[in-house]
């Protein structure tokens, strides 16, 4: 049994990410924008600002604020979801904010806010990861000073087997040890900015999951880098 190679529902290898695509500058009205997709999961991010924070009592005179909003569009899943904010979307907005906060440098923008709007056009699990990847690119495109780029990936577990980039079928896989989903965000130098765990996992396996994430985010980083360098109208010579 151990010699048999493990096969995932969609035939991917255990460490294979769904085909990724990325593009920058997709929203002309925004100060910065990007689209990022993992297979059928598509996220679009728009950045506005830095602009004056309103209402005034939310202003921070020490440094600028990063404000993220994550939203899943009603047609993004098979059964139409109720539009508007929900418990889940407010939570993911906050998570995205925390994942991106360590990299943006907002000390030079007191009393100001940078708005990041993430919309999920189509969902097949890993939406928060696609959202963070798109948001990082959009922030760079908006010319916000940043220490590094952030790339995000979800690691899953099918019974005892760790897998990279879970899709909906794998996320709902209840057999064996139960459904486990670990979204991780890393900078290009390997620092962790966001780490979530939904399910059960052993300590040693979690370390292995982090190693897998490190390898996968390198691939994502290359995709993000390529998209930013290919901005239309820019000749790299």
């Amino acid at each position: 049994m151990t010699t048999k190679t493990f096969k995932r529902p969609d035939g991917r290898k255990v460490d294979e990410i769904r085909p990724m695509s990325a593009k920058v500058g997709v929203i002309p009205n925004a100060d910065g924008s990007a689209i990022f997709s993992f297979g059928e999961t598509i996220a679009i991010a728009a950045v506005y600002g830095p602009k004056k924070m309103h209402p005034q009592h939310s202003q921070n005179p020490e440094k600028g604020t990063l404000r993220c909003t994550y939203n899943m569009l009603s047609f993004s899943v098979q059964d139409r979801i109720r539009p508007g904010p929900s418990r889940r979307s407010t939570e993911i907005s906050k998570i995205t904010e925390w994942a991106l906060e360590p990299i943006v440098i907002l000390e030079k923008y007191p009393n100001m806010v940078v708005d990041v709007h993430i919309n999920i056009l189509q969902a097949n699990a890993s939406t928060r990861c696609a959202g963070i990847n798109a948001a990082a690119m959009a922030l760079a495109h908006a010319g916000i000073p940043m220490r590094d780029m952030v790339s995000s990936i979800s690691i899953g577990k099918l019974d005892k087997q760790l897998i990279v980039d879970v899709n909906k079928d794998e996320e709902d896989w209840e057999e064996g040890e139960g459904a486990t989903d670990i979204p991780i965000s890393l900078t290009s130098s390997g620092d962790i900015t966001h780490f979530q765990l939904d399910g059960k996992i052993k300590k040693e396996e979690l370390k292995k999951a982090l190693e897998l994430a490190k390898k996968a985010t390198k691939e994502i980083y290359e995709v993000q880098k390529k998209a930013l360098k290919e901005l239309p109208g820019v000749e790299n010579d």
Partner: protein, 225 residues
């Protein structure tokens, strides 16, 4: 590293202790790291990143074009396309102003060329105490990407002077990306607008001034036919 290349945040631009970090860069150990997205450039060992996109950030001494938003007792509030509005005080107008007749100088909705005199905690202060500043009476305003303004002006004004000479128009470029064109005929103004849009489109070709010269020759030939 002699040529310019696009860098993304966190990317290493140069290595070694002989380089100095400039605008948009940071030194981490021996490496110079980009802190923002843009074109990396190295002049005399000073490495800097020229922004390609993003909002205009106002600096003291910039000449900008804005719209009068509000008239207060002491002056005018002018929207210059950034987070904070600029304030043009009465004392910054180089002639006598009747305190009840502020709208005679500039009314709400008027466009004006102003210079940023100071940026402080309270906001941006503007002045029109200089040549070429003040209310815009006629002509047209063309909005462009503020990051392309340096290209439209060119090295020591070479590009903008070329466009001025070829189109016989008076052109004022606001650092915030608004350009005021004033010519004798509307055709001249439209021609100048076309030339400016050509520059913004081709803004990353090297030897752009020569290219624009060729473009003018071609366009003039077409117009004669």
């Amino acid at each position: 590293m002699s040529e310019r290349k696009i860098v993304i945040p966190g990317e290493m631009i140069a290595k070694g202790n002989d380089f100095l970090p400039g605008d948009g860069t940071e030194k981490r150990g021996e490496e110079i790291i980009a802190l923002r997205y843009g074109l990396a450039e190295e002049i005399n060992k000073l490495v800097k990143v020229i922004p390609l996109s993003g909002v205009y950030n106002p600096r003291r001494g910039n000449v900008v074009i804005g719209k009068v938003e509000l008239i207060t007792f002491g002056g005018w509030v002018i929207d210059i396309g950034v987070a904070e509005n600029a304030f043009l005080s009465l004392t910054e107008v180089p002639r006598f102003v009747n305190k009840d007749g502020l709208d005679e100088i500039m009314d709400i909705g008027d466009m004006a060329v102003v210079k940023i005199s100071a940026i402080n905690k309270r906001g941006i202060d503007a002045t029109i105490k200089s040549r070429g500043l003040g209310k815009i009476d006629e002509g047209m305003i063309v909005p462009v990407n503020p990051n392309k303004v340096p290209r439209i002006i060119g090295k020591e004004g070479s590009m903008i002077n070329l466009i001025k000479d070829e189109t016989k128009c008076n052109i004022t470029v606001g650092q915030n990306g608004l350009i005021w064109i004033k010519g004798d005929k509307v055709e001249d103004e439209l021609f100048a607008k076309k030339a400016i849009l050509f520059v913004t489109e081709k803004s990353f070709t090297s030897g752009l001034t020569d290219e624009v010269k060729k473009w003018f020759e071609k366009e003039k030939k077409n117009n004669d036919n």
